[in-house]
Amino acid sequence: MEKKQGYQYTENPFCVSRRQFITISGIIVALMALPAVWLRMAVSSRNDYILARTKGLYKDDVQAKIRVSHANKVVAQYYRDFGGEPLGKLSEELLHTKYINRAKGIS
């Protein structure tokens, strides 16, 4: 057994009461949780404006007098005066297109 030396230092005991300890750890946990809250707020507000704009367009749909494309009088007028019919010759020329294969450029 080693003999205890007089100059040997012992640390003070942890002088925080139980209640103080709970308070301090509570504050630390709250501080650590803050970024998580900010993150959640950022994510949810991202959906907020998407939903607001979505609602705006559905409102435009509900308040429209005509709500189906084939009842649009100007569309009918366009086909009657000029375009012929859907998938007709002129529609094929003006309103349809072809796509190209671009996959070769991707390595």
Partner: protein, 426 residues
């Protein structure tokens, strides 16, 4: 740009989005939003964009916390010059999603429906109005008819006169230029599945410079079409060299004049670009008086306006397809199953085809947010076991209303911008 752009045709804008090296912090926030992994660069190093993979969708641009991505094409001044030029009729093609977002740049709350104010402001600036919702209705007529033809071909073996052959099912929508480019660069075997119908913007350009010459009483070469889009990829789409069908039509009928070939859509402004233009002209959209479109081609239906939402094209197509197939109007127009923000939405409609007097079940799917949701749907189609007949795809989460050209909503670390000036080191 160090790599030659190999996936672009001659004349196309080789990538609308670029990243500013001085602003990029290498935080990787954008990579989560990129549908194709086009953003290169290690965490902590300055990022750059591989233009061959890039779809120009602009999702990185609206989601970057530091505002590092920017658009390489800015034609605000060009459009302002055309507006001043008295001999030119400048036609603004207003996309559906613009009317619920542009107010945000002028202090209106997000989602405020500002169609009337927008019309008013555009007229004040000198635009003629062609509402893209009108051509959205036209798209439904073309794309819906094409779908009915494909479905009848697959189900009843009907022969069709559309082009040389009838395309396979499922039919994909073709309104979203980023999605079209995604198929063209990554899944060329799926090209026959894409609807051959042009996007509403390109239809609008072609209609404005053919039928529009009668509406505005102006020769085609003097009509300058400006797409007002919530989208950066539309800038690229408008530059595709095959989109000058109005010019070719004009050559055939002798109305094209002797000038240079003109594209269907001359230039595209994003929603942000348009508010910049309004601000330069001292027009405050928020206090503008409500106005009507004032043109034949500004008439639109409710089905056309919901194109800007995810599921909107599908809903509009179902409304018309139902009426055409059954011969009677739909009682409840709203298809709730294709609405909302779930990644992949599906629905099925059973109806009686009046021509063949048989019951058919049409199964449809709606996909938005390519980055997260497209792979399982494409795998099913490639394996030939897709249960769907008609699939709507939009690149951006939520659809066009959350497009890459829309006003940027503060999120993430944008609050840092407000407190940074308090610190000496900025």
């Amino acid at each position: 740009m160090n790599v030659a752009a190999r996936t672009y045709q001659k004349g196309e804008i080789p990538g609308v989005i670029a990243i500013k090296d001085t602003s990029c912090k290498g935080c990787d926030a954008c990579k989560r939003h990129c549908p194709t992994g086009a953003i290169q660069g290690m965490f902590g190093a300055t990022h750059h964009i591989d233009v061959d993979r890039c779809l120009s969708c602009g999702q990185c641009l609206i989601n970057c916390p530091f505002g590092a991505p920017y658009e390489t094409v800015d034609t605000v001044n060009e459009v302002m010059a055309k507006l001043k030029d008295g001999g030119t009729t400048v036609v603004g093609i207003i996309a559906p999603a613009v009317r619920v977002a542009i107010g945000e740049d002028f202090g209106l709350p997000p989602g405020a429906l500002a169609t009337g104010k927008l019309y008013g402001a555009m007229k004040k600036a000198g635009f003629e109005i062609l509402d893209n919702n009108f051509t959205a209705d036209l798209t439904i007529m073309e794309e819906g008819t094409e779908f009915i033809q494909r479905a009848r071909h697959a189900l009843f073996g009907e022969k069709a006169g559309h082009g040389a052959e009838t395309g396979p099912l499922p039919q994909f929508t073709s309104c979203c230029p980023a999605w079209v480019r995604y198929v063209e660069t990554r899944y060329p075997t799926l090209i026959p599945h894409l609807s051959s119908a042009k996007s509403p913007q390109q239809m609008a350009g072609a209609v404005a410079k053919t039928y529009g010459t009668r509406v505005w009483n102006k020769e085609a070469a003097k009509i300058y079409t400006v797409g007002i889009m919530p989208c950066t990829a539309k800038k690229w789409e408008a530059s595709r060299p095959e989109f000058k069908s109005a010019y070719e039509y004009g050559r055939k009928t002798g109305s094209a004049g002797t000038g240079a070939p003109y594209p269907d859509v001359d230039t595209v402004l994003t929603t942000r670009d348009l508010s910049r233009l309004f601000k330069k002209l001292n027009i405050n959209l928020a206090t503008e008086k409500e106005s009507d479109g004032g043109s034949l081609l500004a008439e639109y239906s409710g089905a056309g306006t919901i194109f800007g939402n995810t599921g909107g094209v599908m809903e509009a197509a179902l409304r018309t397809a139902y009426a055409v197939l059954t011969g009677e109007e739909l009682k409840n127009l709203e298809f709730k199953a294709v609405r909302g923000l779930r990644g992949i939405k599906s629905a099925s409609v059973t109806l009686k085809d009046s021509k063949y007097n048989k019951d058919v079940t049409i199964r449809v799917a709606v996909v938005h947010g390519l980055a997260e949701n497209i792979t399982p749907v494409i795998d099913e189609v490639l394996a030939g076991r897709s249960p769907y007949h008609f699939i709507e795809v939009m690149n951006c989460p939520g659809g066009c209303i959350n497009g890459g050209g829309q006003p940027i909503q503060g999120g993430g670390s944008s609050w840092l911008g407000a407190i940074l000036p308090w610190f000496a080191w900025k």
